[in-house]
């Protein structure tokens, strides 16, 4: 079984701030990591390989340092990696990201299952996976929290807010996985030692035969006009002070005023 897993490098923090002078993201001191849900995706791929056999190709699109997340994917157990790195691909929105990733999948060919993390923790669009599936014209299953393979079909359970669904999809297919699906393994020291000896490819837009009009800034219908921090509310808060019993009384007064008791 041939599995392709897509991984993205993202900043490691819930605490990104904007530089008040430039209005840009403050990158200094912010580490980069593999998008946590992509780690779930890699773990899904490795578990499937352990159970059913096959190969896993990890794919990422980004600047040269995005190779770090591919190294981690290899150390976790993927068999080969592909980095799409090209200035022409930069500045892309989700459409112009999904397109080259789909072209890379086409170049690799012969895939059975494509696995993506449900969303990336920076922009959280959850669109890239379905767009890849769209360009490849293959079925997709989103919000997957378990998957097994039966006779050329992926049988998935989906975790929806009000129910769980069991879905059977004929491969080749693409699934996006939620964090509930597994706990990603730490690459073992032995895996780390072997990682960099595995086949690693770097492809440009030309290598994957991208239509220049569909990549990069010119291939992106969406643009980011501005980034800013959410406006802070400044509600006029009435504070209750005094001994604890008095504070409790004042709060219960509010309960009464609001007809809660």
């Amino acid at each position: 079984m041939k599995i392709l897993v897509f991984v993205k490098q993202v900043p490691d923090t819930d605490d990104v701030k904007l530089d008040p002078r430039t209005g840009n993201l403050m990158r200094e001191g912010v580490q980069s990591i593999m998008n946590p849900l992509d780690a779930n995706a890699v773990e899904t791929a490795i578990k499937l390989k352990e159970e059913y056999g096959g190969t896993i190709t990890a794919i990422s699109m980004g600047p040269p340092q995005a190779d770090d997340v591919l190294k981690k994917a290899l150390a976790m157990g993927c068999d080969e990696s592909v980095l799409l790195s090209d200035r022409a691909l930069g500045g892309a929105d989700t459409l112009a990201t999904g397109y080259p990733l789909a072209k890379a999948a086409e170049k690799i060919g012969g895939y059975d299952l494509l696995i993506c993390g449900r969303h990336a923790v920076d922009a959280e669009t959850a669109q890239t996976g379905p767009i890849i599936a769209g360009f490849l014209d293959i079925p997709q299953v989103t919000l997957v929290d378990s998957v097994k393979i039966e006779d050329g079909y992926a049988v998935c359970t989906r975790l929806l807010p009000d129910r769980t669904e069991t879905v059977r999809v004929r491969m080749p297919a693409l699934i996006t996985v939620c964090q509930e699906i597994n706990t990603p393994r730490y690459p073992k020291p032995a895996g780390i030692m072997k990682a960099l000896k595995k086949p690693r490819y770097v492809w440009t837009a030309k290598d994957i035969e991208c239509d220049p009009a569909m990549i990069g800034v010119s291939g992106s219908p969406s643009m980011n006009k501005k980034i800013f921090e959410p406006p802070k509310r400044n509600t006029d808060t009435k504070y209750f002070t005094g001994p604890i019993e008095d504070v409790a009384k004042q709060i219960v007064d509010v309960f009464q005023a609001e007809n809660l008791i």
Binding site: K72, R185, Y186, P187, K188, P189, A190, M193
Partner: protein, 378 residues
Amino acid sequence: MLIQFTEEQKMLRDMAREFTKNEIAPRDKWMDENGFDWELCKKIQAAGFMGANIPEQYGGGGGGIVDTTIIAQEFARGSASVATFMGGQWLASNLILENGTDEQRQQYLPLACSGKIFAFGLTEANAGSDAAGIKSLAVETKDGWVLNGSKAWITNSGVADYYIILAMTDPDQGTSGISAFIVPKEAKGLAIGKFEEKMGVRGSATCELAFDNIKLPKEALLGVRGKGFKMAMQTLDIGRISASAVCAGISDHALQLAKAYANERKAFGKPIKAFQGVAFRFADMYAEIKAMELLAYDAATTKDAGLRCSQDAAAAKLFATERGIQICLQAQAVFGGNGMSKEYDIERLVRDIRVWSVMEGSTEILRMIVSGGVLASK
């Protein structure tokens, strides 16, 4: 930039750092209050760290000394107790790796890699630096050996699956009369005493061991009879290098805690880092931590190249442990009164770092080794 890690070493460091941040650091306070953390131990086993020092043919990570030193330093940033645990594990399994017969290596090293815990036992209640003063005695019989005696202050005792016990086989020969034995925890006659109530590294398991006529097969002898002490000293070089990096990790943790506090705490209208009395401490801390790292990785690189490094390993530990204690105290001073409070982590680091200047070669012994080496040479 003297320390240059390979790509793989950087990946190893990043992975160890992530594991520490996610799994180890959040548990350190719990371990300080409750002792050895079996749940965390399982995670360490699952992540393949137990055999990081063992060659791949036995199922290990194939790491050299630099590699395990990197892991030890990262772990120490999160928990001195866990760094102690790993150190004890690797020390004992390294002894088997460096001195075991093929059969012993085939038997025990895969066990270490798969997660079995190993402990190294030399010290006794009445014999620490004076190793020749140990009283544990192994008497040869026609089937093997009979072991009697006791041990104290053994890291990983009480949780280990296997103990490497150093005992006298020829009491009249001093340190050349000491041999090493592999003793499984199930051995009949092995009694494990209560856990030691320690000042620091309280998440590391330490207890007394008693040996009451333990019968050991011939194959339990590790290496050559009478060479036990020498083997142990050679392997201890690795332990000392590791200890230096661990102290660098603990010291850096202390520095980071103090830095965060100095940024937040205000006095006389300013964050206290604005006062040179506070700020200057960080200059010294930084320089000394950097020095510790360089000493550690220099000795590690030398050892990995197969060259002798006993003096440098000793010098590295001497410097790192003594300066580490001072750095933690300095960092604690930044906290003022709050440095005394258990609500802040710094007091735990002050307690945790103390043991390193005592175990695996006390500062005094190390000064003997280094000064002896320096003065003996031309």
